[in-house]
Symmetry: C2
């Protein structure tokens, strides 16, 4: 509308000016000169008015961009109309404080039981709008993402961002693989069990993993008392001459070590959980991992645990088809909102490495997180050194083909051992208000605990401070003397 | 910056003008008058320049709003930089055509096998920005939504929007209930089975449902060959004197009828699937449903099937705790992106009924969808009447306590029967390129088929047109004469 108005008014103004300036050029009388002045003034006034209107429009649009863009994200999330009455200062304060909790006080419990990857929040805040997604209400009505695809609920954008990221990092082969998306790698792990279990066997197939193994494997495998598969414990102790499924988690949860299959007998199927096979935690080897079934998740690669999204790279079509069937039967697909968002985030990670001109120094995701993990391990080792009551594993060094750097593992969990007479390391640390997960859940001794290395900076600092301050064992109780 | 520049230049211009106009007022010589003219021209020029800059800024902001706002949603979704080279006209065409597919040609297959609720897309498009969600990259890092809640991965906003909607519609009691969120009601149904199955029974508990029952129940119950529960078929034929779980789907999938439990013996546990108990499909009775375990899903209430989100209202704390445990073991929670989006959508539905001043006439969600379903059922009955080869159930009328209206059921599926000699109704319709689901999958005869009533308008119109045109049975094949 404003453009049409401008054109119309502009034309009239121009015509008038044209007449008057011609008179002026002809050197006509005083009245004409006055008219010239008036016309020029008129033009000035009209222009001035338009400038005012246009500036008002500028201000309006800038306001709308602010309230409708970045800020709107919190607005919608919190369901409050903050833009109406709040100053930008208070909004920014909200933004800042929301994920920068104050340092826990000395008396507070520090919970490092779960591997909640809140360490990643700050990085994603720093990327600003780049990873913001906007989803209109009419999106994702259908169950279907791509009816032609074997995994028909897989969003093509998510699939392409997964392939791009693996090609960038070089941690897994993707060519000719089927991608199956799941509600976290937890669902995919179960989909893999279902897919590779013989459907008509007289007894359930044995599921094994070398201790220490991920603490949830036994329960996840057995909680429904499936007739298809059954937890059979430590792979190193598996002696039956029967079909089996071996879960190979590499780097391993809880101890961070690289793993290979240990049973190595006929009639074995391997499922590789590569959740932690990313260059912030471990050197990436060459060639890329090339196993039959490889599981990944955003929880531990990008830190988006709340998104509940994982993917499997699968060689065999029938296995991929059965994994897809499992996901249809258990949840008729996977949240498309999560896939959209994860796709965006994986793309930005790739961009941060491939488009260095756009991203600032130190913003490349895996570089940034590598240094973050390196600092944390240094800090933890210093605390352990100071305390003298604990021991950490010594890790081998390896050349990372992604970064070109040679470094020792810096896992997402610390597999800590209590030294001396402390039999129950978890209870001992609980006494110091540090919650960890006992080694017994991982098929190992209670002298070990698993500690998450991925809390927020403030919590990690407090943890290492507290750990360093534990320098004496508890007094033996009267009964044990 | 522009404001500072304006101020600086404006000041200089003003000073010059002031000098010159003072000279003019004093009636000074020709040279001064020329200077006045020049000064006025200069002011005009400066204003003109600012207007151009300001207009450019407006255009830029409008472009950013368009490409970064509503349109960005598709842009992000499709990961194409359409804004860079395309005109807005072509972009709008994309927006329009994306969910308004052309009418399928006569020769095309019409797939009404799945209950894909694409009928809902147009409504959500019409609500515009109201249901748009914006999620910044740093959101939803943590696994946890509310550590104090029994269902700790349930987003509080989603929980409150669920309660608000039930209170508005009056279809289910929420006071004192536990809300458990799931990846669709499919995951919740399995969580319920797990939660109510005796953990240490010598044999699996029987799971039954009155035929015709939802076609996926048998397979979902049995596909893992669980030792906890086992499909035992039609509830009306269940005669064992043993514990059982009865699934009561009301309104029922496939036939849309209201249901009550049919076994009614001791040691029975009921799971009520109320996915379709919404006022666009069925009259809402008073008082609100008040069963022990009630399952709901956004797929059939709001139409957001791709969001994969359901919720359970649970009376018993231990049952809710075990359902939560199931969801932790199978997927460590539920997509927070889906919860955020569903929360927003449920809130807008409530708003559309409670804030009539803001919403236009006919925009109230359940009103709009009630009329939509009414039109479709009228249209389907007219087609069936014209063809004379099919029969539809006659539905009882009921008073809806939500709308105050008395009406007959208008279910999300049509449970169609082939008349005459047609034994396999699904095959017969397939011959006419209409894909439906055979009654045999629902524990009924092959003379029945289930037909989705929720495709897009264009598809539904084509379907009823095609159905009306089927007026003769196929010629008997030579072998059958």
């Amino acid at each position: 509308m404003i453009f049409a108005l401008l054109k119309r008014k502009g034309k009239r103004n121009h015509d008038l000016l044209s007449v008057v300036s011609q008179s002026y050029l002809r050197g006509e009388d005083r009245g004409v000169k006055k008219a010239i002045l008036m016309a020029v003034e008129l033009r000035t006034m009209v222009l001035g008015h338009f400038l005012v209107i246009s500036l008002a429009l500028n201000a309006g649009l800038l306001y709308r961009n602010y309230c409708g863009g970045e800020h709107k994200s919190q607005n919608i999330f919190s369901f409050k109309s903050e833009c109406k009455n709040s100053s930008s200062a208070s909004t920014m304060a909200f933004l800042e404080t929301n994920f920068q909790p104050s340092k826990p006080a000395l008396s507070e419990v520090i919970d490092l039981d779960h591997g909640d990857p809140t360490m990643y929040e700050r990085y994603w805040q720093q990327t600003g709008d780049r990873t913001t997604v906007v989803i209109p209400g009419w999106k994702f009505i259908s169950y279907f993402s791509d009816v032609r695809s074997l995994c028909w609920f897989l969003e093509p954008e998510f699939a392409s961002s997964v392939v791009r990221l693996h090609k960038l990092v070089g941690n897994a082969a993707t060519d000719g693989r089927y991608i199956v998306v799941g509600t976290g790698s937890t669902q995919l792990f179960q989909a893999a069990l279902y897919a590779v279990s013989p459907p008509n066997a007289s007894e359930p197939i044995s599921v094994v993993s070398a201790a220490p193994f991920y603490s949830s494997y036994p329960q996840i495998t057995d909680f429904l008392r499936s007739g298809l598969y059954k937890w059979a414990g430590d792979a190193r102790k598996f002696k039956r001459d029967a079909p089996y499924i071996e879960l190979v988690t590499s780097p391993n949860n809880p101890d961070g070590l690289s793993r290979v299959a240990v049973v190595n007998r006929d009639r074995g199927v391997l499922v590789h959980d590569l959740a932690y096979y990313w260059p912030q935690y471990t050197p990436i080897s060459s060639p890329p991992a090339d196993h039959d079934i490889m599981l990944f998740t955003v929880s531990k690669s990008t830190g988006h645990a709340g998104t509940r999204l994982g993917w499997a790279l699968v060689k065999d079509k029938e296995t991929a088809r059965k994994m897809t069937e499992f996901i249809v039967l258990t949840s008729i697909g996977v949240s498309k909102e999560s896939q959209l968002r994860a796709a965006k985030i994986l793309q930005v990670i790739s961009d941060s490495h491939e488009q260095r001109g756009i991203f600032d120094e130190g913003e490349a995701f895996f570089e940034h997180k590598y240094h973050h993990m390196a600092r944390r391990w240094k800090q933890l080792r210093a605390a352990v050194e100071k305390s003298k009551l604990f021991r950490l594993p010594e890790f081998p060094h390896g050349k990372c083909e992604f970064s070109g750097r040679t470094f020792a593992l810096q896992p997402a969990f610390a597999w800590l051992k209590c030294e001396g007479d402390t039999e129950d390391c978890e209870a001992f640390l609980r006494g110091h208000k540090v919650l960890t997960r006992s080694g017994k859940h991982f098929g190992e001794s209670t002298r070990h605990v698993r500690i998450s290395m991925l809390p927020r900076d403030e919590v990690f600092d407090q943890f290492t401070e507290r750990l360093a301050s534990i320098t004496s064992l508890p007094l033996p109780s009267p009964s044990s003397t």
